[in-house]
């Protein structure tokens, strides 16, 4: 065991009773049974990689949301709420809802009617092979590394929370995921993501209910937070007029333009991990409704993530500290707030359900990464670049083997991170390099018919290099943050926002410049791919309450109301 890991061994936040262990074991038995049951329905490429394109709006929508509702997300953002207050909610509201609705109403029709298997697949149709190869290789490489990083993080959390051996956590979770994804393909991953959605709500909803009861209601909670931290901790927008008047050290322009307009748009509309779930929808109406359903539930997630963090500020007797301090002093860190709140309120049975929800979040996140990696590897790298003449059965077989290999690479990455902890930061940073420029490339491709193949490729490449360059600049010279984020008071999170904004702008400018300097693509070749040259199929003659636009309007109204209420 490395010294890095040894720091985590001594502590254990909760102790499971026999009934808790039965609940955890039952979860593993159920997911393996689902995989076994679905194995006979994953015989063709469409079945294995696209779940037969027969998911209803509800299944696709909940799966779309769950792919982003991993346990690290839950624990990390609960910790951020403890550290920064209600500002963390921006990542769930303005940092998700507009992007999800944009995906549903503007981008989804193009993804869907092009019948692409993946986002790189759309780039091939729109910009040609070089753009697909660039995005497919970067996505596949980063996805499988991220899966390993998450696996290690999961094993670490299980060690801290439950005292489980780190090797046990890594191998049990990865073997389970490998079995059920290899057997059932994307359908199996989607089924387990929906199951995870219910487990997370069933396991976590009691914390805010009992927490608010203990605190004496929302008004009393705000007073307690003001006394123990600051009144700014319960305002979403009021403190964002300056970098210095809010706990996050960020300006509203960073939140609106960096997070809301670029990062979230990039993530929710072009990250294949989440978009793949929508591509499995059974028809165009389901494909449009799925992100809207996801957005409706996304708005409620702060109730089980952010509120427990805020409640921790008010009711926990101890003061939580940053991770760096926790590893030295042995105190609990911000990221422990959710397990601490779980242990505070949940007795036998409930504790098992809460822990199962965390495990389910980890495993379905890993399954999502692996299934997306498998599809991109098989359809966007192996088939076009290595073996283009294989049968459908050959590609399904390749998909199954790639699932196993993807899990093994993830395990290898997890052990690498265990030895060299700093790798985790690098991998997470690398992943963020591609999101913002990819959004620029895809959105220009869909909305601007003049964008040419070379324009798309060079825009994507330059935007990505710009992102890498800024990150390296700040890494070498931390004072450069004041230039990247436009203020000497800016903090780490502000860097992400502005880095995304600049790389997106570079991508757009280069794409436009190169497109004007190169030959335009003929209109006939762009039919079905670009706005203005494509007849977007109607959702059909359905009542008002079944129209995507109607539900998008309701979600928008609730989104605006929530931001005003918690201003």
């Amino acid at each position: 065991m490395t010294p890095f890991m040894a720091t985590y061994v001594a502590t254990r936040l909760v102790r499971l009773s026999p009934v808790d262990i039965v609940i955890v074991v039952f979860y593993f038995a159920l997911v393996l049974s689902i995989g076994w049951y679905l194995k006979s329905r994953a015989n063709t490429g469409e079945d294995f990689f696209m779940a037969g394109r027969e998911m209803t709006a509800w299944v696709a929508g909940l799966s779309f949301l769950s792919a982003n509702l991993g346990a690290l997300e839950l624990m990390g953002w609960a910790g951020s709420a403890y550290q920064y207050g209600i500002l963390a909610t921006h990542w769930y509201w303005i940092g998700a809802i507009p992007a999800m609705l944009f995906l549903a109403l503007v981008m989804m029709p193009f993804y869907y009617i092009s019948k692409t298997h993946s986002v790189p697949g759309y780039l091939k149709l729109r910009f040609g092979e070089p753009s697909r190869a660039l995005s497919a290789v970067s996505f596949a490489f980063m996805t499988v590394l991220m899966s390993g990083v998450n696996m290690f993080a999961m094993a670490k959390v299980m060690q801290i929370v439950l005292g489980w051996d780190i090797n046990f956590s890594i191998w049990v979770s990865s073997i389970t995921v490998a079995i059920y994804v290899t057997l059932g393909g994307l359908r199996s991953a989607i089924f387990n993501e929906v199951l995870q959605f219910f487990l997370i709500w069933a396991g976590a909803l009691l914390i805010p209910i009992l927490g608010l009861y203990e605190a004496g209601g929302w008004a009393a909670l705000k007073l307690q937070i003001a006394q123990r931290a600051s009144a700014q901790y319960v305002h979403l927008w009021a403190g964002l007029g300056s970098f210095t008047t809010n706990p996050m050290g960020i300006h509203w322009t960073g939140i609106v333009f960096g997070l809301g307009a670029i990062i979230s748009m990039g993530y929710w509309t072009t990250d294949f991990l989440v978009v793949q779930r929508i591509l499995a929808a059974k028809d165009i109406r389901s494909a449009e409704m799925a992100p809207i359903i996801g957005a409706g539930f996304k708005m409620m997630v702060p109730f089980i993530v952010i509120l427990p963090g805020l409640l921790g500020l008010a009711v926990l007797p101890e003061k939580l500290v940053p991770e760096s301090v926790a590893t030295i002093t042995g105190a609990h860190s911000y990221n422990d707030v959710l397990p601490l709140m779980l242990a505070r309120y949940c007795g036998p049975g409930l504790l098992g359900l809460g822990v199962t929800a965390l495990i389910a979040g980890f495993m379905s996140g890993m399954a999502g990464n692996v299934s997306a990696f498998t599809t991109v590897w098989t359809y966007d790298i192996y088939r076009p670049l290595i073996n283009s003449g294989g049968s459908d059965q050959h590609y399904v077989s390749m998909g199954r083997w790639t699932t196993v290999i993807g899990v093994l690479i993830s395990v290898g990455t997890a052990y690498l991170v265990m030895q060299f902890a700093s790798i985790m930061d690098y991998v997470q940073a690398l992943f963020s390099f591609f999101i913002a420029p990819l959004f620029g490339t895809v959105v220009l491709g869909m909305l601007w018919k003049r964008a040419s193949g070379p324009g798309g490729f060079w825009g994507l490449l330059c935007g990505t290099l710009c992102s890498v360059g800024m990150w390296t600049w700040v890494k070498v010279d931390p004072s450069a943050l004041q230039y990247v984020a436009l203020s000497p008071h800016a903090k780490g999170l502000a860097q992400d926002m502005y880095q995304a904004l600049w790389s997106f702008l570079v991508c757009v400018i280069v794409t436009v410049a190169v497109s004007y300097a190169t030959k335009p693509v003929a209109d006939e070749a762009l039919t079905g791919l670009v706005y203005g040259l494509t007849e977007v199929p109607s959702v059909g003659e359905v009542p008002l309450y079944q129209k995507p636009l109607f539900w998008a309007s309701i979600v928008t109204a609730v989104f605006i109301a929530l931001n005003i209420i918690f201003w």
């Binding site: 039952f26 998911m55 199951l195 309120y345 036998p348 049975g349 409930l350």
Partner: protein, 75 residues
């Protein structure tokens, strides 16, 4: 989903019902044999009893409504 396939909601129902039954059982056991040190805040509310019962009821409703036999008839 094809007609022959068991609905995903049936699996969700099984999960909620089994977990609900286990949590309710643990809650009733603690109600009958109160521990000297409950180890949790607000133990007097017996959250595992009513939360377990709620999950059990929701799970049973899903199991019945999306039972494979009933779904085949509906289709």
């Amino acid at each position: 989903m094809t007609n022959e396939m068991v609905s995903i909601w049936f699996f969700i129902g099984i999960s909620l019902a089994v977990n609900g039954a286990l949590i309710l059982g643990a809650g009733i056991y603690q109600l009958v044999n109160p521990p000297t040190d409950p180890g949790v805040v607000l133990f007097s509310l017996h959250a595992n009893v009513w939360w377990g019962a709620l999950l059990l009821i929701c799970g049973l409703v899903y199991c019945v409504w999306f039972a494979p036999k009933r779904q085949r008839k509906a289709n």
